[in-house]
Symmetry: C2
Subunit: 154 residues, 2 copies
DNA sequence: TGAAACAGTACCGTTTTAGTCCTAATATTA
DNA sequence: TAATATTAGGACTAAAACGGTACTGTTTCA
């Protein structure tokens, strides 16, 4: 199993497709372009629209348009919309932690919480913009930590 | 769904338990300690043993002992043994990439490959030793990048 | 008015996961 | 040597998640 669900894969594909084609696309166009079944891609588009990533237009020449700037859309946000918020382990979120019966003597809780934060940091810091043009990188910052190299941010 | 399967969660728990108790433990001890069903924890112990993380001793006072130094065991290795190698997306590994039909015009392949490497880097760099004692960290280095601030990474 | 497109929801089949069970092998101890 | 405690190995099952489909309705445009 992959980390990202297939739905998430396609959502990113769709978002970047619309990020490149700023005049928008219909579900049909996208489904034929990438050979994804139409109802399936329509489902994904709907969800993305519902969460405010896209703008939909009905009618004969309708379709979807990216509503937000690619640079402002993080992987973490897309994940929250499509699947559910990132969680490293069963007990990673606060509510889960509360009902974890072994927490009092759990030898790995603290350590794993740190790993959770590291990965979450990556998902929050990587944006659709970076995915579209990988060469324009985080440049100088990584996970919110200042680096020796003083290249400009993004 | 969590990033780690429950099997993986328990595997880490088991490994760190044995990392702390260097005289070893039987499957029964561990299962009662953490309230995991005995056959299930036995399954996990078996797998870990089979992959060389543990040493098993049969008989009345048998049980399992951690065979490797905690500092040498990375999360990525445990994951490879328990589930399967980390993969961000369906097309993240080289063989998958080869049979990805849309790769020629995929707008996210390169970008996502970088994200894949970032997360893989974390899984490879975090060891069982760090999970056991989170304060003794990578100290000043993170993913091979030198940091300006000398505060603990946390 | 009809066709093209989105909206919403319910549903199904397959795969994966979590967990169990059973039998055999091995080591200890009395 | 016999009883017992433990691991070894593998087959098996139930339940949940995932991927994907189907259907029905609504809006827009020509």
């Amino acid at each position: 199993m992959s980390f990202f669900s297939r739905k998430m894969d396609y959502a990113l594909l769709v978002l970047s497709h619309l990020g490149k084609n700023q005049q928008g696309s219909s579900a049909r166009e996208i489904s034929t372009r990438y050979a994804i079944s139409r109802p399936f891609v329509a489902n994904i588009l709907k969800t993305l629209c519902h969460h405010g990533f896209l703008e939909s237009h009905r009618g004969v020449h309708g379709g979807y348009v990216l509503k937000r700037k690619p640079e402002s859309v993080s992987l973490a946000e897309v994940m929250n919309a499509i699947d559910e918020p990132f969680s490293l382990m069963e007990c990673s979120t606060e509510t889960d932690t509360l009902r974890c019966s072994i927490k009092p003597f759990c030898t790995i809780h603290t350590g794993m919480a740190e790993v959770h934060e590291k990965i979450k940091g990556i998902l929050q810091s990587v944006t659709l913009g970076e995915i579209l043009s990988p060469e324009s990188k985080t440049g100088g910052r990584f996970l919110g930590l200042e680096l020796v190299s003083s290249d400009q941010v993004e």
